[in-house]
Each structure stands twice: as C-alpha cells, then as structure tokens.
Symmetry: C2
Subunit: 151 residues, 2 copies
C-alpha cells in the first residue's frame, strides 16, 4: 500500500510547550537552559534554536484563536520535554541549577545506564536534562556545536 | 555568572504529545507517518524512534497520576509537533496522505521558502510535515537513514 518506498519522516523539527506567562518561561529557557531565542512575537511565542531543531514556546491563549494560515493549537497543563546533555557535563549542570535556584525535582539513574534530572519551568512543564544514551542514541547524534570544553 | 563555559543543551531528545485514545493515535503515527514504535506500555504510552531523537505519545490520564520515579506530567488540548521531511518528497507525502484518507488542513508555502503540510492526529493534535529549510536548517542536519530513493 505504501509508496514510494523510502518515504520517511527524518526527525522532529519543532518541539513545543505552552506557557501562559510567556516571558517568565522564556527567561527560564534562556537563563537556566541557556537556549538561544531566535524569534519573538510578544504575547504569542518565543522560538529557540536547539541542536538540529527548534524548541517553540507558545502562549496557548494566542495560538488557540490565531486565525491566519497556521491551524490553531494550544495545550493546557504540564507538558514534557527532554533535552540532551553530555554525560560528562551532568555535574556542571547540577552546580549551575543550584546557582540559578532551580530545584531538581528528581535525579534518576536508570538501570540500563544514563541519568535524568527533572526540573519544572515556571509554567509547570516537566523539563528533563538527560544523556541520549538512555535511548541507545550516541551522544554525537544530531548535535551541532559541541561544547568547546569537550575533549 | 555561568560556568563552566561551554555548558549547553545539545538538542531536544524527547518530544511529547498526549492522546487519551492512545492506540488510535499511535496507529496514526505508525501508519500515516510511518514512525517505528520501540516501546509500548498499554494504557500509558507508545514511544517512537524518530531521527536523532524520540517522539513520545502519552495518555495524560496515566502520566498525571503516575507515581514512581518520573515526575507527573500530562497536557490537555491540541499540542503541536513538526516533523522534518525532504523537500523532494512533499509530492509523495501528499499522495500518501490522500491514500490514507488523511485531510491536509493547511498547505502553506512560506514567503522565505519551504512548505508545511498541516494534519490532525486522532487526538486533535496539530501535526506538521515540513522542510527543515523553513528554519534555515540544512536538510541533512540531524538525520539518520536517508531515504534510499534519494539522489
């Protein structure tokens, strides 16, 4: 039934979360997660470049009633995202989070290897920092701009 | 304030959406988007490998009350995700979607180049198929398994 052979999705390009207090949450992603904002529309969205894709933060009040070419969307309640970090940097992340005053809600070492730190953004979304190896994904996959400090 | 220099998130590892009718939506991602399910827990989640990351589909009724090591999460209402597809394959995707009986809610060609097809999954989430070039991201970035049919 499927054709042509080889038709496939290549990856996730846009990952979205929602925050009614848009600037407070955007500040969290900029300051705490150190993401780079590349587009802002006040009261509607802040878009971040992240690795080989985009992380999009929306105010659902705006996107649910948008009109225009883009179909409406907008979720409520705590969503979830996991960001990949290098295993060698987990200790530095813990120090950084403590300095930023961001509590680690859970610090999980998985039986099969790898570690996850769970935080909350100001909107209540569950934000995970984790090592890609938890999914048997090499650390090098899908990266741009490896940290300079890396060996 | 920030240290050590070079501490950075490397990319999005897990992108999540929610669906109360979990299997209906999982079937959409398997059949229509041809994602490969790699983990299933009946009534809670279906996890898909997608490019250099993971796409996770959860029943929010399960994840909001989970207990265990992983902090609770779970959103309601239409979320959004965009999947990267090759520009040369857009025509084949349109044919495939029509054969699968999936309406294209919007078919947008952006002024700066690139095209987006917007669909709905059975849970009502807004699902976009688009060319990474809309974000000035090269098609090759973050890919695994380029389609065999590609030149």
């Amino acid at each position: 039934m499927h054709e042509p052979t080889g038709l496939e999705v290549r990856g996730v390009l846009e990952t979205c979360l929602y925050a009614e207090e848009l600037e407070a949450s955007a500040g969290f992603y900029e300051r705490v997660l150190r993401l780079r904002a590349v587009s802002r529309l006040e009261g509607r969205h802040v878009f971040f470049r992240c690795g080989s894709g985009m992380f999009l933060l929306f105010d659902p009040n705006a996107t649910q009633t948008d009109g225009g070419e883009v179909p409406p969307h907008g979720a409520r309640g705590p969503g979830h995202v996991a960001f990949a970090v290098g295993a060698a940097e987990l200790g530095s992340w813990r120090v950084h989070l403590e300095r930023e005053g961001v509590p680690v809600e859970a610090d999980v070492t998985w039986p099969s290897g790898g570690t996850s730190l769970y935080l909350r953004d100001p909107a209540g979304n569950s934000v995970e920092l984790t090592t890609p190896t938890i999914w048997s994904i090499p650390e090098e996959d899908g990266l741009i701009g490896r940290p300079e400090a890396d060996p």
